[in-house]
């Protein structure tokens, strides 16, 4: 009798918890209501993330210590970091210059174009193995927003998809949920890059067989959807296959900004000065050609 009551109690509790979980999943997928909840829940989890990073930190520490020319190494690392930061700035500056030029030329307007960025350190922790995701050490306290683009000195890495208090998860462009609008830098042809869940391969769709694309072409962002800033390198074309029976070419590309825990990344706050007008973007891409 008593046992039966415990069991039906358990049934009831199970139904309740399952319902709560389902409501959470629905809210999470349909609305933005749970963003602050995630930030709160992440507080007790933060120490665990720190602990999980310790083995990698210790490894780097000892590697550095047993290095013979420790000081030289440190200096080298410092300079390297500075160099990277400068190169990242250079991309922004080039872009800003291009945009400025374009605005004054075509719109006869004098608008300053600055892309606010913040640098972040990728953490060594590994999320679900099947997801192409990394964690960086900037969170809601740094005013990171969902969908924020993440780049490094080589090109686009991905976008922020979840934020906790001091960290956020970046879904790489190679994840199979990701796709972004690109343009072939050399010819200005529009295409779409899709992640395949493979860290060094991307599928490029929307290119017809007769269109001008060759191996080695650089694909850059178009800024459509206002998600990514305009003109950032994304990938390099590695294979072009034109089958006779289809009108579209099979094109694959390799991402330029491969994730590497040693590299600092940049979070970008895109300022949409360009809108979604198509014509100026072509001009801009022509302008960014090297």
């Amino acid at each position: 009798m008593n046992d039966l009551r415990t069991k039906s109690n358990l049934d009831l509790k199970f139904i309740w918890f399952a319902l709560i979980a389902i409501v959470l999943i629905v809210l999470e997928s349909q609305t933005a209501m749970l963003r602050s909840a995630r930030v709160v829940i992440s507080i007790p989890v933060k120490p665990l993330i720190e602990v999980a990073q310790m083995p990698a930190n210790v490894k780097t520490y000892y590697q550095n210590m047993f290095e013979e020319r420790e000081l030289l190494r440190e200096l080298n690392q410092k300079l390297d970091e500075e160099n990277k930061a400068l190169r990242e700035e250079l991309i922004d500056l080039k872009n800003a210059a291009d945009v400025n030029e374009w605005i004054s030329e075509l719109l006869h307007a004098s608008e300053t174009y600055q892309i606010p960025v913040i640098s972040a350190k990728p953490s060594s922790i590994q999320l679900e193995p099947q997801a192409q995701k990394i964690v960086v050490d900037r969170g809601s306290t740094d005013r990171v927003v969902l969908g924020q683009p993440v780049i490094d000195h080589r090109g686009v890495i991905g976008q922020v998809t979840a934020i906790s208090l001091n960290d956020s998860a970046v879904t790489l462009i190679t994840d199979s949920t990701q796709s972004l609008s690109v343009r072939v830098r050399r010819s200005g042809i529009k295409a779409v890059v899709h992640g395949l869940g493979d860290s060094d391969k991307l599928r490029v769709s929307g290119l017809r067989s007769e269109q001008d694309v060759v191996i080695g072409d650089i694909l850059v962002t178009t800024g459509f959807g206002e998600k990514y800033p305009v003109g950032y390198p994304v990938a390099e074309v590695i294979s072009v296959e034109r089958a006779k029976n289809t009108s579209f070419a099979n094109v694959y590309a390799v991402p330029l900004a491969a994730h590497d825990p040693g590299y600092a990344v940049m979070l970008v706050w895109p300022k949409t000065v360009l809108g979604s007008d198509e014509v100026p973007l072509v001009t801009l891409n022509d302008a960014t050609q090297e």
Partner: protein
């Protein structure tokens, strides 16, 4: 089922908290890529352990909370691990609490395998519904790794404490 009087509340809770914390760290700690993709759901394994051996210490609330914490830790969909962990705890506490599994290493491992497979199934279905796609098929291998680990663990445990069964409840 009643707690022994010589167990203070703290002594009952600390091992539970520590084991879950360890499992969550193991779930994300950086490993070589070849092993990394095969690591089982350690949180689920720890939950199965507590539900099977010390059902008084964990319940559905603990399973739900741990699942929610795991969801934030992995930056996944909130509620995804919560529901899969609640299902595991419920199945064990509701249907397996009467059966005497404590000595049966092979039966235990089979049950662990089935529970871990259902865990993966729930997680996959949810990410498919939310993201419209699911990850690699490699994830279906992890329950087998987990069951193997459980088998070794249970063997070891049986060898080490042959006469102490019945003391812990």
């Amino acid at each position: 089922m009643q707690p022994k009087s010589n167990y203070s509340a703290l002594a009952r809770i600390v091992p539970v908290v520590l084991s879950f914390a360890t499992a969550m760290v193991l779930a994300v700690v950086a490993l070589p890529e070849s092993i990394s993709n095969l690591r089982p759901d350690f949180v689920a394994l720890v939950l199965i352990f507590w539900c099977l051996y010390h059902p008084g210490r964990v319940g559905l609330l603990v399973a739900f909370t741990i699942g929610l914490l795991a969801d934030t830790m992995y930056f996944g969909i909130l509620g995804q691990h919560a529901i899969s962990k609640v299902v595991i705890a419920y199945v064990i506490l509701r249907f397996l609490s009467d059966s005497d599994l404590k000595d049966r290493v092979v039966q235990q491992s089979v049950i662990v395998l089935l529970l871990l497979l259902s865990n993966v199934l729930i997680l996959t279905v949810i990410s498919r519904l939310v993201h419209g796609q699911s990850g690699s098929y490699l994830v279906w291998l992890t329950p087998f790794v987990g069951a193997m680990m459980w088998y070794l663990f249970a063997l070891f445990r049986r060898k080490r404490t042959p006469r102490r069964y019945g003391i812990y409840q």
